[in-house]
Symmetry: C2
Subunit: 224 residues, 2 copies
């Protein structure tokens, strides 16, 4: 449940038992992570065991909208899910193997998603999802017709119960006994960037690439 | 169960009900995906609901080795898990919103992991994990001592039941009715690369970066 000051609820499972200092429970941190990625990992229970499927998402202030086709055979109404979004920012290369780690930003969202059946909300969710993953394409491409809308499974998950964990910066053993080893230590950053678009071979190669697509080439995927 | 010709078992849950043509059940495809990433999403059941946590992994021919600390409070012996590894290769920008998609490589591994308690196997698994995530660091950094080994939780998951799904190439609507729209369509590739290493500020800035770290700068994260 979101309370009045916009903080996310701290239920037992989102109260981090480890690395408490890395826990953030404010909505700004959550939306920061959601903006920085577009593929999430959706966890559901199937036949008594966990199943984790990657899928794309979009969001507004209140809901995460997920493409639900991959989960459609398993998700029943009122089923609990856990959606995790992770951005890997690099490696933490410490003086000891034990202190090695990852710089990352990650959000976990818990809740009971519902299937979106209302046509207006489905269009709303699909537009958010499309514009989050591929900005500009909602206006560029042909929008879903009635048949396609009916064939699209969209899940809405309330952004109510979530936790965010991040780690950034250099290794932690720079002022410990291992510093005396004199070993190099530091960070190896990892950045995902969009490359040059590749025109569909079914089109004449001279077909101009739309500006909203061409403009992404070379930009970081984690910066909208 | 792996059978004699090295194919992975096709249990009902890894027999893909959707997009059958994208399913591969051979081990080469699985190891290809495992080599292309180093962070997985581990799905477990906690208090009756799914929980999905990102963690690092390494592997040999028979096992996936996972850092288990994030799951240690929830994982009991014989618990079923699902580990999903996903590499996002880019966007499929089609003529219709409906045909939009993602180019990706993804593996799902199911099974009952065990906690690695044997010292020799723990060192083996940690070395695999370290060398997979940060090649060269097992020899460069100080290796775990007895106390650190005891404090490290490592999971071993048999590479026995798994499925791989991939999608690559241009949109699928190049020969459909929407081709007549004359819209640009194509792929927007996404590539994650290592950046220049950043030396720990606790060290003199002139500390030489080891060759095995410096050599990664500019290379793709999905190519070992």
């Amino acid at each position: 449940m979101t309370d009045i000051d916009g903080r996310l609820s701290a239920t037992p499972r989102t109260t981090l038992r480890r690395m408490k200092e890395k826990g953030h429970r404010d909505r700004a941190a959550l939306f920061g992570v959601l903006r920085a990625a577009f593929v999430c990992h959706l966890g559901v229970i199937v036949d008594g065991g966990p199943m984790v499927v990657p899928t794309v998402y979009g969001f507004d202030d209140r809901h995460l909208y997920l493409h639900g086709s991959v989960a459609s055979r398993s998700l029943t109404t009122d089923a609990e899910v856990c959606v995790t979004v992770t951005v890997v920012d690099g490696l933490v290369l410490a003086r000891s193997v034990f202190e090695h780690g990852i710089n990352y930003r990650s959000a976990m969202i818990y809740g009971q998603p519902r299937w979106v059946t209302d046509t207006e909300e489905k269009l709303h969710g699909l537009r958010l999802l499309t514009e989050h993953v591929a900005p500009g394409q909602w206006d560029h491409a042909r929008r879903p017709n009635r048949r396609e809308l009916a064939a699209t499974t969209l899940l809405a998950l309330p952004l109510a119960e979530a936790s965010v964990k991040t780690r950034s910066g250099p290794p932690d053993d720079g002022d410990g006994p291992d510093a005396a080893l004199g070993l190099w230590a530091g960070e190896l950053p990892l950045v995902a960037r969009w490359e040059q678009p590749a025109t569909d071979p079914a089109l004449p190669p001279t077909t101009p690439v739309p500006a909203h697509v061409a403009a992404r080439a070379g930009t970081r995927a984690d910066q909208a």
